[in-house]
Symmetry: C2
Subunit: 521 residues, 2 copies
Amino acid sequence: MDHNTLPPGSLDRAIRQMRAALGAQNVLTDPAAMADYGDPFAPPGDWYRPGAVLLPESVEQVQAVLRIANEHGTPVWTSSQGRNKGYGGGAPRVSGSFALSLRRMNRVLEVNEESCWALIEPGVRFFDLYAHLRASGSRLWMSVPDLGAGSVIGNALDHGLGYTPMGDHFGNHCGMEVVLANGDVLRTGMGGMSNPHAWQVFPHGCGPTADGLFTQSNYGVVTKMGVWLMPPPEVYMPGWLTLDSEAQFGPFLEALRPLMIDGTIPNQPMIINAVCAASAFWDRKDWYTGDAAIPEQVIDEIAKTPGFGRWVMRFALSGDTPVVAHQRAKVEAAFGAIPGCTLTFSQYDGCNLPELENPHERVQAGIPSMALDRMTRWYGGEHGGHIGFSCAMPITGRDGVAIRDLTRRQLNADGLDYSGVFIVSKRYMIHVALVVFDTQDAAQSRRAYASTKAMLEPAAKLGYGEYRSHIDFMDIVAEQYDFNNHAQRRFAETIKDAVDPNGILSPGKQGIWPRAYRNGR
Amino acid sequence: MDHNTLPPGSLDRAIRQMRAALGAQNVLTDPAAMADYGDPFAPPGDWYRPGAVLLPESVEQVQAVLRIANEHGTPVWTSSQGRNKGYGGGAPRVSGSFALSLRRMNRVLEVNEESCWALIEPGVRFFDLYAHLRASGSRLWMSVPDLGAGSVIGNALDHGLGYTPMGDHFGNHCGMEVVLANGDVLRTGMGGMSNPHAWQVFPHGCGPTADGLFTQSNYGVVTKMGVWLMPPPEVYMPGWLTLDSEAQFGPFLEALRPLMIDGTIPNQPMIINAVCAASAFWDRKDWYTGDAAIPEQVIDEIAKTPGFGRWVMRFALSGDTPVVAHQRAKVEAAFGAIPGCTLTFSQYDGCNLPELENPHERVQAGIPSMALDRMTRWYGGEHGGHIGFSCAMPITGRDGVAIRDLTRRQLNADGLDYSGVFIVSKRYMIHVALVVFDTQDAAQSRRAYASTKAMLEPAAKLGYGEYRSHIDFMDIVAEQYDFNNHAQRRFAETIKDAVDPNGILSPGKQGIWPRAYRNGR
């Protein structure tokens, strides 16, 4: 069987039943109507596209969809909002599949002010949850990624990151409801009881904890999830650190690590290189119009812009007044010894935030924004796009320098600019190269994909695995997880065959293929 | 098939092969030699006991054990140290099974001072890891439960709790190696790569996260695990709070919750009732010699002992000097308004701790101790034992009072004392009633089990599920997880049949039975 495209007509019989189950208006087959459910940065020509889009509004309708799909053996690629930009959006790995979009299941079911959590459906966007909290008079903060139009659940399921102290979105979920391939409705953890008091506060039940299985997977359709919130901090102090030389990047990371591990910096900072920082304000042509990768001396010019540097780190201190004062002093002492490093801070009353204009200050306070969507316009204006090349590693100078150098070398050799960030957690950081390109430029698009794919194996050889992947190279990423001749894949396939014997759910997701598709390997 | 006992001779043929694989001295069949591998609090008469104890020293020997077990279809009940006191220790649910004890696999494989983690084997006890850290000159702190003789890995796999800021032991693991029932060696997360730099710092791979599956489960044998450590705090300030009246217990919990959620109290406090606190110092007969439950007026006498109360909370502040000063002021302000509440603190240099004599101060600094083992001597002296009745719930006055009252009523009605603690995390607390009894008193032992079992369903009806269970009532606990007619159990069984088709691994663990055992249900 061809992994990449279903034969024409494959969905026809199932579509009739889907229309009966969901209402005709909730089964989209018109290409124009489906455009918003695919890869937002699809390059010209053949690409991963849904054969039809399904829009259920309830758990029962999701069950009906899976029943029909099982009957016809038709693949169903699930997304919550499908805003997984840089990784394929809602587009299916097997082109022509049903795209199951949960956008209409968008209720905030409960907010608990005492224990600080919300129970939501997968169609709830960061914007929606934020609006709900403010409209209901809640003072609680949530955590958001840079773009607020995505699904809160979808982001957590893809191990997405935000920038408050609760920025590990999967780590700050509690309790799921999942529709399994056979239509059975499973609730994880304490949700296994009929009347649980602790479903959204205690992350386990009594027995195996299944939640992780439903992340980056094709084992079920998550229809509810608990999300932890936090009380507003007395002081919110976003800060900027600039570094004027690449040579200090390693020492800077060495100074940062202990501040993360001991919680002095309580949020998840983002370290941004000059090209990436520039892309939030300018088009590439404002700085350089050559075809080759942007030269180092132009990057140095960008870096000299006030507020910029070769690298800038956005971060935020928060907490009670004396605690934040101490955090700040410790941060200033730690970075003071690094040549060419500057620090600036703003300070706000976290319990009575003013209208924050700077989008970076907004996202670090858990306020959704779309401002940073501009970064993809570096090449190609409104037709700009990007792919994420996204590795996990310890917070060390050695690791940061190694991945920076590998990425820069490969992209520049392919005539592409290196636009990169590091998102920093307590013990690890994720390096994301936003491989930006003009989606209408076929040749540049091809180069962007080829260059990104070319980095996967060398990065793995150095010890760096992708933490998330575009659908176009999920198989190559999975290849890198080769310990004990791919024990992880064997285990993942064993589970897949057991919980989805007909292989209907998101075949190929993260390189996990159902039995019927595996013969070719 | 009888769930509870294998027919005599069931292991005979397999034992010969086990001896060849492990060496005869590492296959115990003599009852006296096996005594230390069963339930430490076994009551008189028939009980859950291993048919033979297997002591492998390597992953390869674990693989050999599972190969032989598959060949003969003989059940293998795995424990790391088997010190899961109050829950059955290392005793198998199916009496007469092999007990696979990993005590000889006790190497600390690596300690990383930069990113603060250790990679260890399952036989490593809290004492061992602590000794290794001190002997190697490491300044890092670890987290320990009240009794230090247990396995670090075993405790995390059973969702055990400790009392430093890293006291959620599963939440502070990172990366596992697991031998599956078919002998395949799986490494989770970034360990899926052959040369990972992030196995012990990033908790996922690229694809589903399997770690939770191997907790409280019978899906594999965990042979390595990463454990996060922490830098020593500048100030370590253990504290005691006493509460002189049961009437203030609810308001006290209401005052505590926000201090947990915002991190003012960074560790995991334990709230201890008067009987339990007394049991750390005295035998019951020092206070009361009657057969019925200890009367309220005697508890009031205990509560009037200096340093005691109806409830006492042990907790610890920690961090940099100004931060701890602020934590302390906030704690004092929060509890100052509660009548009959007192607070006392000690203060130490966390980076240069003196020899701490108080075991409570030791465990909250991550220093292993066995002193609190005394609590089980309340009845029966050295023959004392206890069962854990252990529910999870939100940190609210309503929930704390409800479970206290249910437990006290039932135990007292059965003539047993209510010895209880709450272990408090950021958003939940675990109520553990230590149902203490004299293991040589057959009638009292029976009452202790009957009384504990009698609480399971009423607690579940109120919304409280066990987070951990003694082998003797794992099935009853599993019965309470009945949402959607036991969807959790159906899912757990589907996974079980897929990953362990011969049903050799720990049948009955947490109420999960292999297919061959399920016909009777």
